[in-house]
């Protein structure tokens, strides 16, 4: 039906875009496998003569990356779990229950999405100080334990479930807690996974907040660690690129495995209210 010329043109445009989008990734990995001399050679080589995987070990050992990874993994997992639990509870309350002030509370929740981060940055730092939480996991985790976007997604999904489920549960004498655990949570599992993944992504890639609330090497998270490494090793580009590669590797692996959920989650953000 479509002319083959059009198809070829479309692929052509998409492939050019693809090359532009993918080039920085290619260049990062390629540089990370070169020797120092190779990485700065004139004219530059597209591919290393032989892959120097030991660059990764060298970069890894030049800074306490193991520590950064453990910190980040702990923080990200805690945040992810907390976001899923708090969002499921709040989403369930907004979708399935009636109580005075529900509408106002929901608008209040949604309005927090409009608050830019730099506005709360300064006062939140003061709050963390007042609580004595500098350089603690609590400072990295607690402020991120709720996510309004996830609450919204879960509420929308629960509201779209067939009414019959609820009616059947009512007839069988099932209360809210049991309904939540046995019906609502399993049926919204894809959305819960999505919410968890987005929380994990945000937490793994967080930079400004950890920069502000931590200042000891022991408490540093991976993005902050990478930034310090960039500053300190400013000329060894092959090592910098190796460090960048292993920093994004976990999230890329998670993305490749669960991309359906990532893309669904992001598309969900365009839902009409």
């Amino acid at each position: 039906m479509r002319r083959p010329g059009v198809v070829i043109l479309v692929h052509g445009v998409l492939i050019v875009g693809l090359i532009l989008v993918a080039f920085p990734f290619f260049w990062m990995v390629s540089t990370s496998l070169k020797t120092k001399d190779e990485s700065v050679s004139v004219p530059p080589r597209m591919l290393p003569e032989e892959c120097r995987w030991e660059n990764y070990a060298e970069a890894w050992n030049k800074a306490p990356f193991a520590r950064y990874f453990v910190n980040t993994a702990a923080v990200s997992l805690a945040v992810t779990t907390a976001v899923v639990v708090t969002s499921l509870l709040a989403g369930y309350a907004f979708a399935m229950m009636e109580f005075p002030g529900k509408k106002i509370l929901f608008v209040l929740y949604l309005s927090t999405m409009m608050i830019p981060f730099e506005v709360v940055l300064v006062p939140n730092f003061a709050t963390i100080n007042a609580l004595g939480w500098q350089n603690t996991y609590a400072a990295l985790i607690v402020p991120w334990m709720a996510n309004v976007f996830s609450v919204f997604l879960i509420r929308q999904t629960l509201m779209s479930l067939p009414r019959d489920f609820r009616d059947a549960a009512l007839v069988d004498g099932c209360g809210h807690l049991r309904y939540l655990w046995y019906i609502a949570a399993p049926l919204t599992r894809p959305i819960l996974i999505t919410a968890g993944l987005l929380a994990f992504l945000g937490s793994w890639n967080a930079f400004l907040w950890p920069l502000v609330v931590t200042n000891t090497e022991k408490m540093r998270v991976i993005q902050f660690g990478l930034q310090m490494f960039l500053r300190e090793e400013s000329t060894d580009y092959h090592l910098l690129m190796a460090a960048s590669t292993f920093t994004i590797l976990p999230i890329v692996v998670v993305y490749v495995v669960a991309q359906r959920y990532f893309i669904e989650g992001v598309s969900g953000s365009g839902l009409k209210g």
């Binding site: 479509r2 532009l20 509870l89 009636e98 506005v119 007042a130 009512l170 910098l240 999230i251 953000s269």
Partner: protein, 351 residues
């Protein structure tokens, strides 16, 4: 499956306590006789479910707004302590400060340079991908990949791409320029405006445009955000009923006509959503600028967020001032988004 059976069972009209229960979503079987008791119970449980998220949001999203306003009216130290009441002096200082106007200009340049480019590119790509061509899933995955990459690592790679030609190191961007016979640039170290670089010295300084360094950061940002917009546009496009395209075809509408009269109006809510989200995002950009230029060269990439960070974190005793800057920025974002909402209210077509 069971749907086709449902008409055999006549739905009984709900009355009295049952109707009440339906209306309030109560679980009437728990306590059929005392509806009000049930409602109280459900209300308490509902509040209980909200407490965890409300506690976090209240402490770290809502309360800080009030605290920020309070801080902006005081002179306070690094931790918010040792306050002297200043009234609106912090605001007055901001409006009289060249740094503030420069940061605002950078922020506006950044928004104008990234948002239209991202939207146009992603709209084109989304439409191409929507043609159901082979490998669209693969294309979509790769286009989306930068979005999951951390801003720090992405900025590190772009910084390497832009490496200026100094001594022994050589960035790939300059290699490309040299190959096509142009002079290498200083990229992230270049404070001159792009228009000055292209047209030479006859451009007056007020019309020099954003610095080349800022443009480099913008390229990184467009690359980073593109996949997000593509995916949102794809979702928007898939919401357009195919009957509308069929109808347009029967009426003899060509490609452009269909685009103008069907696609644009139908995805206008998506456009509106993306403009709003991107505006808020552009106004709070921090990480790529911090990693790539740290606000330099000559302050030409210091946007509002960088300035706030600087006043709050690097300088001493200017926390109140930083809070005032943040409140001003919040005000600007609120005005912009409400203007967008008013504009969109007239033009955006909701299906």
């Amino acid at each position: 499956m069971a749907r086709h059976l449902s008409y055999h069972v006549p739905r009984k009209k709900t009355t009295g306590i049952k109707k009440e229960a339906e209306r309030y979503g109560c679980w009437y079987n728990l306590d059929l006789k005392g509806g009000s008791m049930n409602r109280t119970r459900e209300s308490l449980l509902g509040y209980g479910f909200l407490i965890p998220s409300l506690a976090v949001l209240g402490t770290f999203s809502l309360y800080p707004i009030g605290l920020a306003i309070w801080m902006s009216l005081h002179k306070c130290g690094f931790d918010g302590a040792r306050e002297t009441f200043l009234g609106l002096a912090n605001y007055a200082e901001a409006f009289g400060d060249a740094e503030f106007w420069s940061a605002l200009k950078v922020t506006v340049f950044y928004a104008l340079g990234t948002i239209p480019a991202t939207l146009v590119l992603s709209f084109v790509i989304a439409n191409l991908l929507f043609m159901k061509i082979r490998g669209r899933g693969f294309y979509r995955s790769v286009y989306f990949l930068p979005f999951v990459t951390s801003a720090v690592a992405a900025a590190a790679v772009w910084k390497w791409v832009y490496h200026p030609q100094v001594e022994d190191a050589f960035g790939i961007a300059n290699v490309v320029l040299n190959t096509i016979g142009l002079e290498g640039q200083k990229w992230l170290l270049e404070p001159r405006g792009v228009l000055t670089i292209v047209f030479g010295g006859m451009i007056p300084s007020w019309a020099a445009g954003p610095s080349l360094a800022l443009c480099c950061v913008m390229v990184n940002s467009v690359w980073h955000a593109l996949g997000f917009s593509v995916v949102i546009f794809l979702a928007g496009l898939s919401n357009v009923p195919t009957e509308m395209y069929d109808a347009a075809k029967i009426d003899g509408a060509g490609f452009w006509r269909t685009m103008w009269s069907v696609t644009f109006p139908m995805v206008s809510p998506t456009f509106y959503f993306l403009v709003m989200v991107s505006t808020i995002g552009a106004f709070q950009t921090f990480t790529p600028i911090y990693v790539m230029t740290a606000g330099g060269p000559a302050g030409t990439t210091t946007n509002m967020t960088m300035l706030i960070f600087d006043k709050f974190y690097t300088s001493h005793g200017t926390t109140g001032y930083a809070a005032a800057l943040a409140i001003v920025l919040f005000g600007i974002i609120l005005v912009l988004t409400s203007l967008q909402a008013r504009f969109a209210g007239k033009r955006v077509h909701y299906a």
